[in-house]
Symmetry: C2
Subunit: 345 residues, 2 copies
Amino acid sequence: MKSIASYPDGLSRRVVLSTLAALSVVIGSLAPTTTWAQSPTDLLPSWNDGKAKQSIINFVTTVTKDGSPDFVPAPERIAVFDNDGTLWSELPMYNQLAFALDRVKALSNQHPEWKEKQPFKAALAGDLNGIAASGLKGMIELLMATHTGNTTEEFEQIVSDWLSTARHPKFNRPYTELVYIPMIELLEYLQANGFKTYIVSGGGVEFMRPWVEGVYEIPPEQVVGSYVKVNYEVRDGKPVLARLPEVNFIDDKAGKPVGIHYHIGRRPIAAFGNSDGDFEMLEWVTAGEGPRLGVIVHHDDAIREFAYDRQSHFGKLDRGLDEAPKRGWTLISMKKDWRRVFGSQ
Amino acid sequence: MKSIASYPDGLSRRVVLSTLAALSVVIGSLAPTTTWAQSPTDLLPSWNDGKAKQSIINFVTTVTKDGSPDFVPAPERIAVFDNDGTLWSELPMYNQLAFALDRVKALSNQHPEWKEKQPFKAALAGDLNGIAASGLKGMIELLMATHTGNTTEEFEQIVSDWLSTARHPKFNRPYTELVYIPMIELLEYLQANGFKTYIVSGGGVEFMRPWVEGVYEIPPEQVVGSYVKVNYEVRDGKPVLARLPEVNFIDDKAGKPVGIHYHIGRRPIAAFGNSDGDFEMLEWVTAGEGPRLGVIVHHDDAIREFAYDRQSHFGKLDRGLDEAPKRGWTLISMKKDWRRVFGSQ
């Protein structure tokens, strides 16, 4: 089991892993030692040996070792993952923004005024600088116009339909295939070791929930993110949740520890991010008592994906790069630490 | 295993049940049939035979029967429970209000002005009518003054300390012993059948999270409720979450389906409540497709607990009583359906 022959089609391996994981929970609860953590490297075949891989394995081995002073009981093994740039690609723009631009086009017939009105005019032209020029206010206007005015069930269908047809402009593949295989392996490795894995993203909760279970084996209830207000209404005797054009919570920067508190209610022991939007999340998680793991994915691979950090419009990584060493956070070099990035087509 | 000899001291039984439950998940995933659902009555020993018990067992048997057209995969077996009046007693007042009144007393030295100021004056006198006269605004003022101005970790400690010493005025027992044994059995029964059990309460999330795991085997992340805003701050290099005196979300009535959507993100298949505050939650859950279970605990047992419904200040049940039959919701008569109410002392 040295490599995943094809992902996301390699379902049989996932089924095997899930069954093994379920068994390991039982074995772990009956016997004082688990055999799982003793050969963990098999589970990370797409990682090159090095400091990054080793720091992750050391951490997991430590917290799962029964009898060790650093042992952490399974219910407290909470690991949080940023999504954009940490689990899947976020350039040339956040995928949710690509979704919004496609929605502007799809809805433009009903809104002839958009041809002359910013930020919609820029959106129709695919002009990111023009959208950026409209500021946060313009961006929120764009998101509200393209994401709300429907019910939660309608929006879920819209997202699923878009994902089934949209293609990434550089890689010409469905966005859900542009997840990082080493991170998928890491999620499986943590799940097999009794961790509960959460997404904690600046992106919209309802943009992620329709597909994360199939792609990451993370159920919808383990997704924390930004969200709009919804209202409960009974229409012709049928209850619905109507999505209102009003931002309810922005799960970014200092909002991430807050979102974690609202939704999870205890401090995770491991956090994975890639940008300064994740800084406070890593800070909060690694400031807790006992063993902690903070990890930053550094995008330094222009050949296989993208190379960006301090100057990027999306996924800017500046303070995190400066402070990772002194805070004991692990930096993953996508170029050096990952044997491969995406699954084979 | 016909009765729990002593609860909450009967820990060994809980350990046995948990282990059996974990095993049943594995057995269920490996073998096409489960043996668990075929003798479920053993798990509800504190329930008298009757329509209520039978409707619950029928539902669970149906959705867990592999191959049946009504089979529901385990990840979708989400069950939501109101807390006050559904899992533990809520009279003579919500326990969280009793906590608030005790907090007013504890903090009154720092607030000499409270002696003459409502609703604090009424709170110091234990005068519920006086508090009620101050309206929703007064109630929120009381809650903010007694619940906020601290960090999340400080508040958790305050709640834990209070619960370890406070006693219920009628039963003279710790509040956490005034949970309903038949409902504890029901939680275990559902958990053993692959259900993920959530609390969805009008009460404060942070008032519940410190103790629900020990009492209900429901982890903190499976608690949905009302909550205040928190702010992420770094104080002397140490990050904290400061609790602000500002209501963020009220998880009651039409807020319950909304809270379920924000936190869980999929519609549960079973809902348990006791008051009209749970009406919309039951409506939302039972309006979904496929088999659904809606259950209302009717407090009609003045001897062993309390008898109240349409006229009660706390836990008023009016519309739910009227509409339960035509909506196919199950009514539990505490008096007739429960062999016992609380654990022995």
